[in-house]
């Protein structure tokens, strides 16, 4: 696993990471204060939810793990929505309305993703059918004797 010098990523990500720590002439307005949770249960729910959401800017990081500025802002937003009483489903819908389904790490089950969600089951089924046919064919001739001469 290695990190590349990404040329494709919006330069903002580089700015953000560098700007956050090094004093520079131009820097984004940011507030690094950790979020305040009313209790442990809320914090755990937040972590679980944020782990299912994708940072919209980074290359494959969850909202919980990312240090990008937009991730900070979105985390704050998610917590505000949680504290306003919205359910997980509603919070996810809120983000999908604005950023698209890209933001969900757990893809919605819809005709577009049936292959994704049910494909492995089909594979398993196909494998099971093959195994069954192999065994049945083998037993068709005569019952298989016990082989007492086996070594390990």
């Amino acid at each position: 696993m290695r990190v590349s010098a990404t040329r494709r990523c919006l330069a903002v990500a580089l700015c953000v990471l560098a700007m956050l720590l090094a004093p520079q002439a131009f820097a984004q307005v940011s507030d690094p204060t950790p979020l305040q949770f009313s209790d442990g249960a809320e914090e755990d729910r937040f972590h679980r939810l944020a782990a299912e959401l994708r940072c919209v800017m980074c290359q494959n990081q969850s909202l919980a793990d990312s240090d990008a500025q937009i991730a900070h802002d979105l985390r704050r937003e998610v917590l505000a929505l949680m504290q306003a009483g919205r359910s997980d489903r509603e919070i996810k819908d809120f983000l999908v309305q604005r950023y698209g389904e890209f933001v969900l790490y757990r893809p919605v089950v819809s005709p577009a993703t049936w292959l994704l969600w049910f494909g492995p089951a089909l594979l398993l089924l196909a494998g099971a059918v093959v195994v069954w046919r192999i065994i049945v064919r083998g037993n068709a001739a005569e019952p298989v004797p016990r082989d007492d001469g086996q070594e390990w």
Partner: protein, 200 residues
């Protein structure tokens, strides 16, 4: 055991030839599909903007906002005040080097006065934004300021530069993530603008 009779079924651990062909064809078709998909992937891999998120807001009303102006901070500006004519909204910040790169292009376009050009200053301390505009020129009709970034979330903005085209009724018609070039203006923005104006 070796009496002649009907041929015994093929022993397990080995499928009859017909089966092999069938399985083989399935696997081969899958293999071709995979190669096709990967070929598509390679072709796309250096396309600029391939990581840009398509906006789900295209065709939907732009979110209502109420933001102060950069040059007259006592004055606040809302989306409603922009209705009646299409406008282009360009998201920028002094912290964003790519914005500097696209600035001459959008300045040239803004000067043609083809469409109203609004600046959206994202997460910038006021002095830095003013200084940047002084240094590089101000092509915008007006600049709204979103220091906290809260309204940007409603627009699905996740960085800068980003550029929106909103029509006379406040519907978002086009969005571009990343640096705007003359080609993009000519091939995407102008046609979208013409459609928006005609559809009125």
């Amino acid at each position: 055991m070796n009496t002649p009779g009907p041929a015994p079924a093929p022993a397990p651990g080995r499928m009859p030839t017909g089966n092999y062909l069938f399985v083989g064809v399935i696997i081969f078709l899958f293999f071709l599909g995979l190669m096709g998909l990967l070929y598509y992937g390679v072709q796309q891999s250096d396309r600029a903007g391939r990581d840009a998120l398509p906006s789900p807001l295209i065709g939907k009303p732009a979110p209502e906002f109420d933001l102060p102006l950069l040059h007259q901070p006592e004055q606040r500006f809302t989306l409603a005040e922009l209705r009646g004519e299409p406008f282009v909204m360009n998201v920028w910040g002094s912290w964003c080097p790519e914005c500097r790169v696209e600035h001459p292009v959008i300045a040239r376009f803004a000067l043609t006065k083809r469409v109203r050009f609004i600046g959206y200053n994202l997460k910038d301390p006021r002095e830095d934004a003013l200084r940047w505009l002084e240094q590089y020129g101000n092509p915008y009709l007006m600049v709204v300021v979103d220091e906290s970034g809260r309204t940007a979330i409603d627009f699905g903005i996740y960085g800068a530069p980003e550029t929106f085209l909103v029509d006379a009724d406040g519907i978002i018609r086009w969005k571009h993530v990343g640096v705007v070039t003359d080609e993009i203006i000519a091939n995407e923005l102008i046609p979208a603008l013409e459609l928006a104006e005609a559809g009125r």
